[in-house]
């Protein structure tokens, strides 16, 4: 029997095990929506903006490890989803995005709502397809899912012209895919792995530097075994959080620009950096020429382009983390003995000193303004037994979440690292909630960022996605203000938000629940109330506006040169008390 392109599309989704589709309709995809309307296997979540649909697909993918799927219309639908595709591309998130296109006969004619979807998405997708013949549709969709989810994952776009969705063809779904130019390397080179094992045995000051690749590959168990067996401390990137238990005694926490003191010092002074599924981003290396000056570098990565892109590598191993770590552990199991422990005792003494010298710190006065770190810390303590999924937006609150929310397991952390997309958090949280209806999903948001995809509250209410949003409301683009305080003499150019909506009323206007923490003493009670609610909730937490996030390595700085607290002139300004405007700040400074 022949099926229409629209029916083939749905059949393919079913074969790929897709249960949820984040979508927004339009003229050229109406046939597809019409068919979606007449079936029950794939749930359609109607978003309010295509960027939201894209981030939801990302959140779904990060939480499940499977591809997240979205569907948008041509022209503006496509341009709206670009930010999410670019985000997924930077953070290697498996997303399959379907876009509508004008009928094939009109392509290139400046037809109504036409855009060059292939051209627009080329630099921000792993691959993209224009389907010109309905007979190719099923095989193309199969390839799209295959490419998105294998090797280094990433977003794939499938552009479907209107006539292709209406035309009919016989339906057969291929069992397998073979693309001659695409064969990701899974197993690492055995000789190189042996070299790595030898280097690990000999190292006096080794450090594991682990990233998103460990999460994608599901290699947390293997990583844990490696670290415990060899007693090597573990630094995590922002994207690697959860790959190793945050409370484990071997965990150094996050490294990099806002990483912990011990994580960055251990990197800088180490003699062997073992990088696993991490890409030496500039937020981690700081000044590349002075990065890890004393270390040999082992780098395990599935993407050869990640290796030696920024940093010289001594032992490159191209392969999947899980497979490589298994092999490595097998060799080490046979060779590790008590000697390494003695060999590394001075290293551990040093690390414990660093930990004690400068632990993460903030000061919460009992009656004083609410400190953002306190909110994250309490949220963590109140929810850790429920194994929550945590999404963040982008800014200071994101960094405090990274520092104080110590995740125990992978796939619980949804954050935008590479692109740093404000507005990512809430829709990403919704995507995860759509995948796990019964789990606790939190979104730690900034008052600036949340306004970038606030419209999705309508989706959350309609589709019953009870995400708990905690807004750290500092009245500022706080991260921008922090840079202005440190590097632009405190001139707050466009970082003061000036006016923000009443988030409690806003939540209520959407039919969600709005709560506010008025003073620090109420924090626990209000958070508990929010956690007990079965609807989407916004908790508005007005926080101290001038809190800065430390440690901080200035961009392009060196990893052992961290700013650990406000410089004296800033402290003086702040001792003035509550609200200081830029103008009277100047008077404080010159006084």
């Amino acid at each position: 029997m022949k099926l229409t392109g629209a029916e083939i599309f749905i059949e393919c989704l079913k074969r790929e095990g897709v249960k949820t589709l984040f979508a927004l309709p339009g003229g050229v995809v109406l046939k597809i929506f019409d068919m979606l309307h007449q079936q029950k296997d794939v749930e359609v979540i109607l978003t309010r903006h295509e960027q939201g649909a894209g981030h939801m697909a990302e959140g779904y993918a990060k939480a499940t490890g499977k591809a997240g799927v979205c569907l948008v219309t041509s022209g503006p639908g496509m341009t709206n989803v670009i930010t999410a595709l670019a985000d997924a591309y930077m953070d290697s998130v498996p997303v399959v995005c379907f876009s509508g296109q004008v009928p094939t006969s009109l392509i290139g004619n400046d037809a109504f709502q036409e855009a060059d979807n292939i051209g627009l998405s080329r630099p921000c997708t792993k691959y993209n397809f224009l389907v010109k013949d309905v007979n190719d549709l099923a095989a193309t969709i199969k390839e799209a899912f295959y490419i998105a989810t294998t090797g280094r994952p990433g977003p794939v776009l499938v552009d479907i012209p209107k006539d292709v969705s209406m035309a009919k063809a016989d339906f057969t779904y291929p069992n397998s895919v073979s693309i001659r130019g695409y064969n990701p390397t899974v197993e690492g080179n055995k000789w190189q792995i042996k070299q790595a094992a030898e280097a690990i045995m000999k190292a006096k000051k080794p450090i594991l530097y682990v990233g998103g690749g460990v999460v994608f590959s599901g290699a947390s168990q293997e990583l844990l075994e490696l670290a415990e067996m060899t007693q090597i401390p573990v630094d995590m990137t922002l994207m690697g959080l959860g790959a190793f238990p945050g409370e484990h005694p071997l965990s150094m926490g996050m490294l990099g620009m806002h990483g912990t003191y011990q994580a960055n010092m251990a990197m800088h002074y180490s003699d062997l950096v073992i990088a696993i599924g991490a890409r030496f981003d500039d937020r981690v290396t700081g000044k590349p020429s002075e990065f890890c000056p004393h270390a040999k570098v082992i780098h395990v990565d599935i993407d050869p382009t990640s290796i030696r892109k920024n940093i010289h590598v001594d032992i490159p191993i191209v392969g999947d983390c899980k497979s490589v770590l298994r092999e490595l552990n097998q060799i080490l199991r046979a060779t590790v003995n008590g000697e390494q422990k003695d060999l590394r005792k001075p290293w551990w003494d040093q690390i414990r000193d660093w930990q004690q010298a400068h632990p993460l710190a903030y000061h919460q006065e009992k009656e004083g303004p609410i400190k953002p770190q306190q909110v994250v810390k309490r949220l963590y303590e109140l929810t850790k037994d429920r194994d929550p999924i945590v999404a963040t937006d982008v800014g200071q609150h994101q960094m405090w979440a990274a520092q104080y929310f110590k995740l125990a397991k992978p796939n619980r952390w949804l954050t935008s690292g590479g692109l740093g997309t404000m507005g990512f958090g809430f829709p990403a949280a919704m995507g995860a909630q759509a995948a796990f209806r019964d789990r606790l999903v939190l979104c730690i948001a900034g008052d600036g960022s949340i306004q970038m995809n606030m419209q999705e509250m309508a989706t959350a209410v309609l589709s019953k996605l009870p995400v708990k949003i905690i807004i750290l409301n500092n009245g500022f683009h706080g991260m921008v203000r922090q840079w202005q305080d440190l590097f632009y003499e405190g001139r707050y150019a466009s970082s003061n938000l000036g006016t923000t909506p009443d988030f409690v009323k806003l939540a209520e206007a959407y039919g969600a629940v709005g709560l506010r923490v008025k003073k620090v003493g109420d924090l626990d009670a209000v958070l508990k109330e929010a956690l007990a609610t079965d609807k989407p909730v916004i908790v508005d937490v007005p926080t101290y506006p001038y809190e800065n996030c430390y440690p901080m390595i200035p961009a392009g700085g060196c990893n052992h040169e961290m700013i650990l607290e406000d410089p004296p002139e800033l402290k003086m300004k702040q001792s003035g008390g509550a609200k200081v405007t830029p103008e009277d700040k100047d008077t404080v400074l010159t006084a």
């Binding site: 051209g119 080329r122 695409y182 892109k309």
Partner: protein, 172 residues
């Protein structure tokens, strides 16, 4: 130094823009690029002339390999190779210059492929140095138009291996 990279790609819509986009998006240099189908019509052969230090060339080769439509990448500078380029040069020729132009054509074993009373159109093939040299000589006469194909190149067969193969073939 110039680097010649030979890239076998899928012969389909959009591949050229993926390769070109890779170079422009990452700030890599393209000196020249030539594309044409191979014997197998499902594939095309690209010859890309680029430049950069060792690290950049390594990235270019890796990034090209990463493209899904790229089937094979060979950095020809790692082997022996032969390369050729063709130029078509239209020169102004006054009466007195016409003989001089023909002399230059002769020296470079070039061909006159079109002629009018006031112009010659000259075709020349060779390595880039030769092309540069003939252009320099023709310049004083007045070059009206110049088009160059960019280089195409192929790795040389290792001589010893080829000799062994020839013997084997002869015996059979």
């Amino acid at each position: 130094m110039d680097h010649i990279i030979s890239v076998t790609v899928e012969n389909k819509f959009g591949v050229l823009s993926r390769v070109a986009g890779l170079f422009s998006g990452r700030g890599f240099n393209i000196e020249s690029l030539s594309v044409a189908p191979t014997l197998d019509p499902s594939m095309s052969q690209m010859t890309i002339v680029t430049s950069g230090d060792e690290r950049i060339i390594e990235q270019i080769v890796k990034q090209l390999n990463k493209l899904i439509d790229v089937i094979k990448v060979v950095d020809l500078n790692e082997t022996e190779f032969v390369s050729r380029e063709t130029a078509i040069i239209k020169v102004h020729t006054k009466d007195v210059d016409r003989a001089e132009a023909l002399r230059i054509v002769d020296i470079f074993r070039a061909n006159v492929i079109d002629s009018t009373p006031t112009t010659y159109t000259i075709e020349v093939s060779g390595d880039p140095k030769k092309i540069e040299a003939i252009i320099n000589l023709l310049q004083p006469l007045g070059i009206k138009e110049l088009v160059r194909t960019g280089r195409v190149a192929v790795a040389r067969e290792p001589v010893r291996q080829a000799a062994v193969q020839a013997k084997k073939n002869a015996r059979e």
